[in-house]
Structures are given as C-alpha cells and as structure tokens.
Symmetry: D2
Subunit: 338 residues, 4 copies
C-alpha cells in the first residue's frame, strides 16, 4: 500500500480521485484535505463514493498531517499550491499538482495570463509537465509533476504530433473547444446552474482564456483558443485548425497521429471524429485528423473526459509512473456509455 493525500478533496477532481482510487491496486487516499468542508464525512461531500469510504472525514490542511504520506495529489484553485508546494517537496513527498501554478515554465507568462506575480518561481524548475505521452521518462524520475489540465491536454494531444511532424504551422493555430460543466468546478455560480446551461450552448472567455498560455508553451507561439460551455457534465471536444505547411494526402495527418500514439495505452486514434461520451469516465483520448485540400488546412479533433484524462486520471497515470507502478493501474480505457 502506498499512502496518498488529496488536497482539494471536496471538489469534483477530489471526488474523481476517490472514485478511481477505490479500485486502484496499491494507492490509498489516507488523508483528505478540503478546507470548506473540513469536518464533514466523505458521504456528505461525495455521496457517490460513500459506499467505499463510509467513515472517512475531510480535514483542514496542515503540513504536519503529511507525515507518512508518500504522494500528494493537489487539485486546488490556481495560486494555492504555490503556497504549500515547498512544504510538501521539502518533506521528500512526491507531488502531482493539477493547478496552473507550475505549468508555465516562465513566471512572466504566469503573471501575464493569471494577473498576479508567481509566489514560488524558484520551484518552477522542479516540476515536469504531466502529459505522459510527451514526457514519460521525465515523469518517471520527477518528484513534482504539473498535470496539464483539461483544455490543454485535449488540444496538445490532438496537435502536438502534427506540429512535430512538420505538417502544421505552429504559429497559426485555432483551438475551438467545448467543455462539460464540471470543468468550471464545484463553486456555485449562475453560469453553471442547471437552468442556465441545460439546452444551451455558449462561447466564453473570448480571446483571452488562460489556458491559451499552456497551449502556446506546448504547441507554438500563436494559438487562438475559444472555449465553449456545452450542456453536459463531463467531456471536452477540441476541434483544432492548423495551416498546412504544404500540400499532402488527406490522411497524412491521421498517419502522423497513428505513428505517434501506436504504443500509447490511453490514446486511441480513429479515422472519424469521436464523441465525448465515448470516453466518459475513462482515461482515454480519442483523436483524429485530416487535411483539407480545398482550404489548405489540417483539422484535428480530440475527445477526453475532462475529469479523468484531463484531471484525476492523468494525475494517477503520472503517479503510477513516478512510483514505478503499472502505468495503467486503476484506470479504465472504456467509456461509460450511453
């Protein structure tokens, strides 16, 4: 048994970590920290995992409570893990952080997109980007991993092989993506109430959404990213438009994806575009791409579950690597459908 703690245990990602860890062969969530629900039983906070964690309580975080913990999963609002990462790492504990705090290697980019100075720039160099398909070996030997988050994971998995293969101009990408409502977190807002969202589809964060920075760091210098809110709880579909660098066969982008992901357990390359529900509850990304001779563009589409491959599942996949476990332990490749 490997002892883990969850920071942000009362949010949706916290709940999803609890669900996935309930069938993990080795990892056990032995401490749950969540300030807003501290003192409450898991059953009150996450009734869907109550049968597996009947008597467990959420606690207020304090560093001393980490004694004996092997690995921390942090799923906190941005700005929070900066404050406590040193305390975790200095104890020799491994850390998988889902927040934006340690994703951008350049603290100036953090300041620009998040509107505040980074509080722990000295730690940035200790974090590895938590996309196993791109950084597997670095993750294996890392003490600290910054998981990429939902929108960036969806966009990067679809586009990165196309950029690397030289098929797409990295200076001119458009990522048009739709997310389920859980991507907005559990805090109450009118914009995520059922009455606002049900039967409705909308764009938001026009031109200046923060995840643009993370996409540009991974893909190239110029990404235009438009997120949308879709009336579903889970899932992200990213539809990505690149300018082709040259004429090519219609299926050349698809072949580049197949080649890049041939050995990946959690990326499934297909010829036709996926639906988000095909991957719901699973750690799988389903991706496709093709070249459009008429307009000279490459179109790539990916589907992930934002709470699994875009959050808790990716975190566990990273933890499995960091702890030298089977990479797929505790993670399903099959979606919950319909």
């Amino acid at each position: 048994m490997i002892r883990t703690a969850i920071l942000g245990a009362s949010g949706y990602v916290g709940g999803e970590l609890l669900r996935l860890l309930s069938t993990h062969p080795v990892l056990r969530p032995v401490r749950l920290f969540g300030d807003s629900k501290a003192g409450q039983n898991v059953a009150a906070v996450h009734p869907h995992v109550a049968p597996a964690y009947r008597e467990v309580r959420v606690e207020r975080f304090e560093p001393a409570a980490l004694d004996g913990i092997d690995l921390v999963f942090a799923a906190l609002p941005h700005g929070e893990s900066q404050k406590i990462a040193a305390a975790i790492l200095d104890r020799g504990i491994k850390l998988v952080d889902l927040g934006a705090d340690f994703r951008l290697s350049d603290p100036a980019q953090y300041a620009r997109w998040y509107g505040e100075e980074h509080q722990a720039p000295a730690l940035l160099g200790r974090f590895v980007t938590g996309i196993p398909e791109l950084h597997r070996e670095a993750i294996r030997s890392a003490q600290a991993v910054a998981a990429a988050g939902c929108y960036p994971t969806a966009a990067i998995l679809a586009c990165k092989p196309l950029v690397e293969a030289g098929l797409v101009d990295p200076a001119n990408l458009i990522v048009d993506a739709a997310s389920g409502v859980s991507g907005a977190g559990r805090a109450l807002r009118e914009g995520t109430s059922f009455n606002t969202v049900a039967g409705s589809f909308a764009a938001y964060g026009l031109l200046d959404h923060r995840h643009t920075a993370e996409m540009e760091q991974a893909l190239g210098p110029r990404v235009l990213f438009t997120p949308h809110l879709a009336p579903m709880a889970r899932g992200i579909l990213a539809t990505c438009y690149g300018a082709a660098t040259r004429p090519m066969q219609a299926d050349e982008p698809l072949r580049a994806l197949r080649s890049a992901y041939a050995a990946e357990p959690f990326v499934h390359v297909i010829a036709d575009p996926p639906a988000t529900k095909w991957v719901a509850g699973s750690n799988t990304a389903q991706v496709t791409a093709r070249f459009d001779e008429r307009t000279g563009r490459v179109l790539a589409v990916s589907a992930i579950d934002n709470l699994v491959k875009g959050a808790a599942g990716q975190m566990i996949q990273c933890a499995n690597l960091m702890l030298d476990l089977e990479e797929t332990a505790g993670l399903s490749v099959c979606g919950v459908y319909p």
Copy 2:
C-alpha cells in the same frame, strides 16, 4: 385571413410553423401535407399543438389541393421541392421554400455539393434568398423565396457585415458551429437517439458539409465549416474566425454589426457572446464580434434558434414581407428561458 398550406407538415419545421401560426393575426394553415403521416390527426403527429388544431388532419399532397391557397410553406428534404415548385408557382401561389433546392443560384454548385443534377434549373432565377436582413426589398416583391436554413443563417448574419465593411478577408473564413439535435430532422437515426446524444458533444461532416456552399455563396470564395452536434434540442451557435484585413480597434467589428443591424427587429447586437437558450423559441439572432490584436483575427459569434430564425420563423418573416403584412407578425423576439 390568408390561406396557407404546409408541405412537410409532419416534420419539426412543420410543427413549428403550426405553433407560430397559432398566434399569427392573419395567416392560417388550412392544408397540411405530409406523406408519411397522411390521414393522421395533428394531435397524433404534433401533440404540442393539439390544443390549437384539434380536428385537423395531415393529407397526402396533390397539386389540386392547392386551390384557394395564397402561400405555401415548404419544409421538405432536399430534392423534393424541385419536383413541385413549378406546379405551385404556375398557379400563381407564393412559395417560401426551406429546402436546399433553390438556395444556390448556380446549378453546378447544387450538383457538386448535393451529388445530383438539379431537376428544375430554369426556376432558380425566380427565387430570392430568404434572409430579410440582406434581401428585404427583393423578398417583398418575390413570388418565390428560398429560406437560407439554419447553419447558413447563423453564419451569414454574424459575418456578412464584417465582410461588407472590409474588415475580414472573404477568402479565408472558418465557421465552427454547434447545433441542437432538431436540426437533423425527425427521421429516426442512431446518431440522434437520446442515448447517443445526451451528455455528449461531437463534430460531424468534417470538411464537406453541404451548407458550406451556401455560406460561400453569401460570404466569399473560401469557407471551412465544421458542424457539431450539441446535447440540446434547439439552437445554433456559430463561432466564426476571419483574418482581419488590417489592424483595427478591438470593437470595430462590433460597431460594424451595430451599424448594419440598427433597425432590424430580429437581430440583437451585444458586446458579450450569447447563449443559444437566450433565443430559444424566438425569431431573434443575438450576435457579437471583436478583433484580436494578438493573432490578427476577427471573431464573430451568433446564436439563433434553428427551428425559428433558422427555419419556421424566418419563413414566416419572409411571408409577412411577401404579403405586405407587418414583418414581425406572429413572431416573438423573446426567448423561452430558462
């Protein structure tokens, strides 16, 4: 009272015409044609309008049944109205056709995108495009109008003023749009079953969707159009990306929309992006646009109800013009929300 007939009365657009006409001051749907449900009572075909049309029956179409009809609304699968338009027009009856048959002025374009020869090319010149905001005067004096349909209406209303104002390069447009499921019509398909769609979001028709042709006819020579299916019954959101022709102020595209639509009863220009549910059940389009200095692009977003402004409402708006009635008769500007 003006006597109208509906061709395709048993489909969703037929039902929506019946709903809207139930409060129209003058237009009455006195004959309902729908071959697959011929002989059935409206209450069996459209239970939502049963209280207004208790004893009315759907009939099998025959031209002689048009005697005494002033105007025909046709909402048929493409290919069907080509066969009967002459019979309607030769009787001196006005026609508002929602199908694709008479939208493209060039029959070669029809053949290319719809995969079959046009059967009545001689009639193409008699049809006016049914977007009142662009063709009001021509519609007033027309005997035959080809309504633009849902995706083209959404895209054209968002982009046309930007192209006309010279802000956007018409040779390089991307229209990324999401539609509710009613846009796929009432025929049964696995792709539109509840279990397939609920909680899911997907792209379809990659690179070759037919409505591309209609957008290119209205907007410019090169449109890349990607439709998506969203888990909602109604609504279209079109997110449109254009290459700016020059640097401009961030709100210059918005001002162009405001200027173009200042006097329009059914286009509402706003600074922030709309949600589709704001216009559900109404004939309103809510639109916005802005310039992105970082990437040199103009982003425009529109929301319509595909069954109203994108279908039945637009048809009635055209009919009102053709019949010299109040343009807004029978049409609401307010959405049914939440």
Copy 3:
C-alpha cells in the same frame, strides 16, 4: 394600455412574465422591482427578453412607486408579500400574488406548514384562489388573487373533477410529481447546479413538503405528496393515485375530466398520458385519467409548464379575468417542441 408592475422581477417568474407580456395586447410591465438586482438593466438580468425591453431597469421597491399602477404581479419568496399586500390593496390596486402567503385560508395551516406565524391574517379573506378553472367568477370580481403555484395546480387540475364526481376517496390521495429545476427558483444552490442535476433523478421533501397543505385544502383531508427533481429546466408531471369509491368503467375518470373541462381553453384532456415538453412555454395543462380494476385505484396524470400554467401564465390568465380582458390574451396554447 394597462399599467402593471412586477415584484420579484429578477427571478425566473419575473422573466417569464416579461416574456409573456411582450406579446400581450394590453398589459404593459411599466415598473420592475427586484431588490437583489436593483439598478441593473433588464438585458443584464434577463438576456432572453432584452430585445423587447432594451432600456428598462430593475428598481428597488417602495410603495410610492406604485402610483399609477393598475395591477401588481408579485412573485416573491413566501413571507414577503404579507408585508406589502396591504400597501398595494389600500391603494386600490389589483394584486395577483404567486407566493404561498395568501393561498391557505386558515392561518393556522400556514403556521404549521411554513413554520412561522402569518403576519397579515386579516387580509386572507380578501384573496381568491387563482385557479381560473375552479374559481373563474370569483376571480373576475376579486381585487386580490392568490395563484395556486406549480405543484398544486398540476395536482388539483388532475384530481379535482374526480373528487367532485365522487369517483375518488378524498381522504386517501397520493400525488407523486416531478418538476423541472426552474421550480426551485433562481437562487444558487448545489442542489440545482448543472453538475448535480444533469443525468440524475431524485426525490426530495419526503412526507412534509409545504405544497401538501394547498393540495389538501383543495382536494381533501389527506394527501401524501412526494416531489422529485427531474433533469429538465421546465415542466411538472403529476402522477396521482386515488382509491376508487366504487367499481367503474375504465374510462369513467376520463369522461369526468372531459366533462369538467369541455369549455376550458387551457386544459386539454387526452386518453394517453402527456409529456411535459408538449406544454413547455404554453399555458396548457394536458391531463388524463383511468380506473384500474385490478387494484381498485384511479390513476390521473397531468402535465404543465411550472413557469407558465404553474406561475406566470396563470397569473396573466387571472389578471385578464380581473381586468375584464379576453381570458386568453397573451397566452399560447401550443408548446415549444421539441
């Protein structure tokens, strides 16, 4: 033009009143009161009605602002209209109140079910119950009407004719009903967030829901009412179980409903059970009933839109009667479907 004011204009019922009044021939909402959004433009509070009310603002309520108002629509949390009803009525203004404050004729019942003493028991006698199908003549001559609300309207319309015809024992009714989420109002709660509700169905308020009192007042001494929350924004379906008083033909309850509602513009009696979406956006109730020989029970089912027939539409129907207007003015009988 008749001048009306809306109290509680920023809630969902307020928004629905604005939508319906936008096509009403005579009633105009000239003052909008809503404390939490006072000072905001209607476009910011209700973007779906913005095209009809571009420049109108929500104000903080004060009685002096009622000068010149002919009729007040009040859609306030329970307890609120008790405080201000006298000020309205003393000015000679008509009042249609949707809150629970004046629904129960016995103030002891109010205290029992709402957990607080009634603050204006002397006014109770001045209010008429606002179900036009049951109290039409009293409403016509009333200054003050207490609209019945959503669940009671659905249950009472289904059951009352069966009780009155002596087919069902009034001392032993079960009302099992499901409501859309808008019935819970616009205040933010985890229980009405999209993520909680989407794809989920749940019972709540077991055994002690307040609307039980209003059903018992109308139907009989003993009603067991179980409300459920369904993943939809609008609509109530009430499935009602009564003990038959005697054996009867299977369709005798249906005939009792047909007889009771033969002349009603907004009650549509059908042989098979309705779906809530058939009445969405309309003021129609669709109802059915039948006798079960096997168990000796009568089953009655009704569908309404909780925001229209269960709230704003019923209020306007009452106002039309009180003001001697056409009863159906501004109200549609057709649902927005699909």
Copy 4:
C-alpha cells in the same frame, strides 16, 4: 481465465458487459453474438470500448460456437432465450439470462403479461432468480440464473425487507418509478429520440406494464406500478408506497433496511433519499425508507443504475457467485459523478 460469451452483444447491456469485463480479473468475453450487427467490429458497434477490444468481431449465433465457453451472458429481447436455453444448458454451460423469459416461475403468468405462451416451461424450474441479496446461496449452486431486470430490482431491493419485517401490507403496494432512456434498449423509436425526451418527463405503460408481474412474484399479490421516462441516459429511481401494518416509529423502516443489508457490498442504506447519478456506472443500490404517521404509509426509495445493478453488473455479480469467484470482482461501488 474463464471463457464467457455474450448473446445480444450489440445492445446497451452487451456494451456494458464489455466495459465491466474489461477490468474483471478473470472473466473474458471471448465470443460476442449479435445478429443485427454480425460481422462488424466491436469498434463500430461500441466505440466506447474500442480501446479494449480493437480487433474483436460480433458474430451470428450458432450453438456450436459455444464450444469451450464456461458461461453465457444473455441479454436478448424477451422470447429469444426460451429458444436457445436448452442448447446452452445441455452443453453444461452456465447461463445468466437477463431477459424476462425465465423470471416468472409460473408459465401462466408469463402468458398473461407477455401475451404469448412460454416455449420452454420445463426449464423454468432450473432457473434461480438473480438477485444476490435475496438468493445468494441458490445462485452459488445454480447452473442457470434469471437476472431480475431493472425496475424489479429497484423495487424489490427497496420493499422486500419491509414486507419481510411485516411493516408493510404486501397486498397494497404502489411503485412509482422513473427510468433513464437506456432502459428502453437500443432499437430506434420516436419515443427514445433525443428530441422527444430531452427536457421532458412522461409516464407510460399505465396500469399494465409487464414488470408488474415480477414485482408481484417477489413482493406480494397486488402491486400498482407506474413507470416514467426521465431525460437521462441511465438510472432508475423507485418511489414505493406501502400501507403500514401498524403504527411505528418514523425510522423503523430504515432500521429494517439497515438490518437486512448490513453485510451487503452493493446495497447502501441511507437516511435521506438518493439521486440516481450517485450510483451511475456502479453496481450499488442506494436505498432509504421512513414511516409517515400522518397518512399511515411507509415510503421507500431506491436508486440504481439500470444498466449495471439492473442489468450487466447484476449479471456479473451472479456469475461471480456461480463461478465461486470474489462476488465483487470487476464491479465498482462508486458512481461516476458528476
């Protein structure tokens, strides 16, 4: 490894069996039979499990294909497994059947509710009812199990301990239940299209739904069952009304449930009513009950996932028992939420 075959592999239950078996430690689905999709790859039929079964094909069934199979999961329309059960059992293969064919021990009841003579009445005695909580020991030693199906499982788990404890009169039960749309199967019907169901709630099968028979067999001589269709893909909530046999404390029914299910891995007894999404994707039933002194009734509520505890999960739980495996193997107790 234990070799299993799936009959009805192309339906929703077939897909759910594939999902659950993809993480089962021992059971492998080595043959997939599904006549309508015979010859197709699993990826085409069930894209959500494609990553786990890339090359597997669906075949047309023939008994010879069962050679080497240890256990058959049958998820066929009623009437079908009657035809082939003998061929399976005579080969000494174990069978878990989800259809209705072998649920009713009295063939006359089958004829009455299903409208056709039973074709294999001699086999009825060889089937054990597949509700492990009630029939665990019999299942362990059975060659053939008839899984109870979705609505009966939900109702029986909620009510059986109350009947057995003598708290509720078995001659007078009402089961009012709502199901997600997957309960209607994968065949295309207008009643299960997205446009029909989304945003709508309806009752169906009034008074004569077939599952009444199975509830009466388990619970008592007189059950009135009303199913409803809720706008969600998965889940059943059963709200059950019983006449109390005597006055009791409000929590006496809850204590009876707790006592009955204290050792059950897949039944979670709670004080407040559950939501269906709490159990989505899991094999858990969440149940509650209470006594209502005011009306003398006992109210019991249960939530299950119709495709898991009501179908594929229950089948695997039974198979685990029949094969002397860990009863919980391959099954999760945690729901996929939100």
